[in-house]
Amino acid sequence: MSFLVDSVIMFTSQVLFFGFGWLFFMRQLFKDYEVRQYIVQVVFSITFAFSCTMFELIIFEILGALSSNSRYFHWKLNLYVILLVLIFVVPFYIGYFVVSNIRLLQRQKLLFACMVWFTFMYFFWKLGDPFPILSPKHGILSIEQLISRVGVIGVTLMALLSGFGAVNCPYTYMSYFLRNVTDSDILALERRLLQTMDMIVSKKKRIAMTRRQMYQRGEDQNKQTGFWGMIKSVTSPQTGSENLSLIQQEVDALEELSRQLFLETVDLQATKERIEYSTTFQGKYFNFLGYFFSIYCVWKIFMVKFWSQHISFILVGIIIVTSIRGLLITLTKFFYAISSSKSSNVIVLVLAQIMGMYFVSSVLLMRMSMPLEYRTIVTEVLGELQFNFYHRWFDVIFLVSALSSILFLYLAHKQAPEKQMAL
């Protein structure tokens, strides 16, 4: 009886998550595009729903809600579904939509999509070979094989993002790093931008006029036949076209300059807005958080082995919420930056794939942060994976990512004031 009640609860929460994913897709991601293929929206919402359900099950595990039998059952069910989605459904549809975009392959869409999927499966399988992720006593078609590979990809992704986030978060929010930008700096840069545009315009006018004259002269030349025509064409050489290519080169250089000036102005505006934001109450609150989290991140970088059980339990909750929110925001920004009306379907599906893998590996890694008594369910459900490998792999990639982000941000920060000096 209690199993039925628990199942109803799980199902309701899944429907809620599905609805949230649906709304997020419609209101945020696909705000500017027309949804013509509803299957994309459905697949995205399903991936989101089952990923969130996994987190929900962990919370239930810790809180002791629902009976342990139904929890175990739903864990298994959830895992099967999400693996099915991540390994069969999403990659197949990615291949299908990529193939639909290529005009040559329109006829045999399904066939080519299947071919793409088989290629994906081959590389996916090969991925597991160099890593010591399985104990040797498992058969070839067990669920552990699939999870282990998904886990590797997801853990690498998580470590890269966490490493970058750990360094970028303090850099963005702490006012210590904000360069001083005044209104007159921005105005000066805008003036330079408009001057460059004016120069481009005047050069293009010359090109247009010269071309028009050449065209008219060309017509006249066609009419000139006979002896005098030949003499005229020899005595008045065509310097027009040589001049044109020279001016065109100048225009190309100026256009490149205008693009750079535009990007620099955007950068200054963004910095100015961040400075303004930091003076508001909300900004000050986040500034304080930034200091707090930067200390936490530094601590994490240097003292990876040391974990207090009880602090980690609270942190599990915070990590879940912030990582979902952070991931959705990052995905949205990324989507806006690179999508177009042609590729929007493919990109959303790729994002769904990344999101699913990210969440699955979160569960894997969370085991490390969970107090001992709760680790058993995760171990039981996920089978005998070599968890230690994943933790070590995460640490290595996290360290590499954090250090390269520090280097990258240092170079970017140093280069910016030099550019301003050149104004």
């Binding site: 500017d32 027309e34 931008l193 090109i207 505006q269 963004a270 806006y336 009306s341």
Partner: protein, 233 residues
């Protein structure tokens, strides 16, 4: 070469509708082979004969400013973009016929460009709703252009044409549809070419031959004041 007078026309629309291809077609009379993302603003120049064929014929340069980006851009990008909206003499609103959202977004695009004086950060003075009066009294000539016409199947053509007709009524502007990869849509003598010439002539007239010599600033202060007072009710 006589110094020809300056006329500035903005080309606005969502990312990927085909503004760069359109501008290239209008100015170079050639199809753009490799369209790529427009960063910032790209300008091109078209030589236009005003009142062609009449004794008052004069040649003008029309500057087509193709401003890249989307409505969802960060506010820093919007503030920088506003720099290009200065002293505009005409606006070409471009939308993709295969994407309804791009047509709907044209209202917001036109508001962004025409309200530039009061709201550089993209927060619009009006509540975002469309106000027909505002567009009826607007003094900047608008032209509506629908792209990717060849990708509409025959059966849907009527529906699309009805939709664009409504759109042009709302904006109080002329409209035509084309495929930017096919120059025949703008061949001399077609109705599209006639509408285009009429638009450019109107822009030139407003710029040089009106009684009021002050530069165009989109929705004037008087209208904005009236509109604001409506909100206080």
């Amino acid at each position: 070469m006589a110094s020809l007078d300056r006329v500035k026309v903005l080309v606005l629309g969502d990312s990927g509708v085909g503004k760069s291809s359109l501008v290239h077609l209008l100015c170079q009379n050639q199809v753009l082979g490799n369209p790529s993302w427009t960063v910032g603003c790209s300008v091109d120049v078209r030589v236009q004969d005003y009142k062609e064929g009449t004794p008052e014929e004069k040649t003008y340069y029309i500057e087509l400013w193709d401003v890249g980006g989307s409505l969802g851009s960060a506010s820093s990008i919007k503030s920088t973009r506003a720099v290009f909206y200065n002293s505009v003499n005409g606006i070409m609103l471009v939308h993709d016929l295969t994407n309804k959202k791009s047509s709907q977004n044209l209202y917001r695009w036109s508001l962004e460009a025409l309200n530039k004086d009061s709201s550089p950060t993209g927060v619009i003075v009006s509540n975002g709703d469309y106000d027909r009066e505002q567009f009826a009294e607007n003094s900047v000539p608008l032209l509506l252009i629908g792209t990717k016409f060849d990708q509409i199947p025959e059966t849907k053509r009527n529906e699309v044409l009805t939709r664009t007709a409504f759109l042009s009524e709302d904006f109080n502007a002329e409209e035509f549809n084309l495929d930017c990869t096919n120059p025949r849509y703008l061949a001399a003598g077609t109705s599209n070419a006639v509408k285009l010439s009429r638009f450019f002539d109107k822009v030139i007239e407003k710029r040089y031959f009106t009684r009021d010599p002050s530069p165009m600033t989109g929705f004037t202060d008087r209208k904005r004041f009236n509109f604001k007072s409506l909100h206080y009710d």
